[in-house]
């Protein structure tokens, strides 16, 4: 079946930590809080497992948005994991901004296991944001000057 060409459906990858955000996503499901199908979740034990390279790889492979969700700082299941995540991702985001690519296509959110509604809210909001930005081509073109 041909896809409706006029409607842009962004590809969005969400990395979710097992203990808070993945459980939060389950909570959104259990409470039937809808969010668009564009968001696909990859489970990681902790947000600190997410290598910035994973995010770059997702963008490079065609993701239009990447969102990383973890426990609220201070609530990490492994005590300190998300503190490292926060530093790593702040630097990554700042660098993406510096290179003029994809900064606004990447987001870090803290969603606890009890925040199913927030999870859905964040995802809805992110899909709107990414849809407005359109297709992500910049990162792929970074070294392809025409």
């Amino acid at each position: 079946m041909l896809k409706d060409a006029a409607k842009f459906e962004p590809k969005i990858v969400a990395f979710c930590c097992n203990w808070c955000s993945y459980a939060g996503a389950d909570g959104a499901g259990t409470a039937r809080k809808n969010y668009p199908a564009n968001v696909k979740i990859i489970k990681v034990p902790c947000s600190c497992r997410v290598n910035p390279m994973f995010i770059l790889r997702a963008f490079q492979r065609g993701a239009d948005g990447v969102i990383l969700c973890g426990c609220h700082p201070g609530d990490c299941h492994y005590s300190t994991g998300n503190y490292y995540t926060r530093r790593r991702m702040a630097l990554l985001m700042s660098m993406l901004n510096f290179m003029g690519v994809a900064e606004d296509r990447f987001r870090v959110e803290w969603v606890s296991a009890a925040e199913g509604a927030k999870f859905a809210e964040v995802m809805n909001d992110f899909v709107v944001q990414i849809t407005a930005l359109g297709e992500n081509v910049k990162l792929r073109d970074l070294r392809c000057k025409k």
Partner: protein
Amino acid sequence: MQKIAELMRAKAVELLQSSKAERVLAWRAGEFFYDNAPAAFNDVDACQEIVYNEFCPANLAKYLIEATKQQKKTVVFLKPCDTYGVNQLLKDHRIKREYFYAVGTPCSGMLDVKKIKELGAKAITQITCEDNKVIVETPYGTKEFAKEEVLLDKCMMCKGNEYKIADEELGEKLEPIQFVGDRFAAVKAIEAMSAEERFAFWQEELSKCIRCNACRDICPACSCEQCIFDNQEAPVGGKAAADDVEEQLFHLIRAYHVAGRCVGCGECARVCPQGVKLGLLNLKFIKDINQFYGAYQAGEDATTPSPLVSYKENDPEAEEAVQRRG
């Protein structure tokens, strides 16, 4: 500088003869007097070939990895800025203190022969420095430049004349370079651009890259047994030909990879045959780290953990940090 070269030769001979060391790391003359290269000197006679002048920019620190592996006590001559790399290698446990003897070697700034040539000097026969003047002899006459015109870019960001690690210092410290401005000026200029301009700038720069890996090979923070770019299991993907992820994102990944460990020596940019301004990526990380997490200088000592393996409970959030940078 000639005087320092003599002191170096004498010190090398003294240390070898006293059996304090088995070999010496210093610089040897290349084809021209301005392309000196790092070299190892294994005996007293060879030490006579040690040279030192305004064209010895290379940092010898990384060769100490090999010295440590061979467990050979090695004399290494270190300019003040080189000592940061040594500390970083010590912090990364890549070299061991017992296998090297560090001799602090004074430096008044290294010159960039490319700049001299670009300013019109051809068939250079001799270059001498007097205070802040650089006198270039050519068969077509003598040319004179202000030092700041022809200093290496990295020397324009000189960290001063202190040795961060040294068993002894050679002669008197030289005056640090006077032209040091804001080392983040170029980074700030890019930050001030629009997103489109920034993208265009980096697209232009990064498209020049030929993936020769010189930047990686020279870097004192790139000291892994096997580089992630050569490792099929690493999260970046495989070799360039096999995977375009790495091809497109090489510089971003490289700079991120050494963030927090990069001493800001500027060697990566210096050795780039294509003149890619890749040092700016490293400087950007240094600037951000200083701004987000407090001043930090990698290689200042051999113990303080990198900001990327430490945290504060009230660190800024990613979005907040980017905005704070403004």
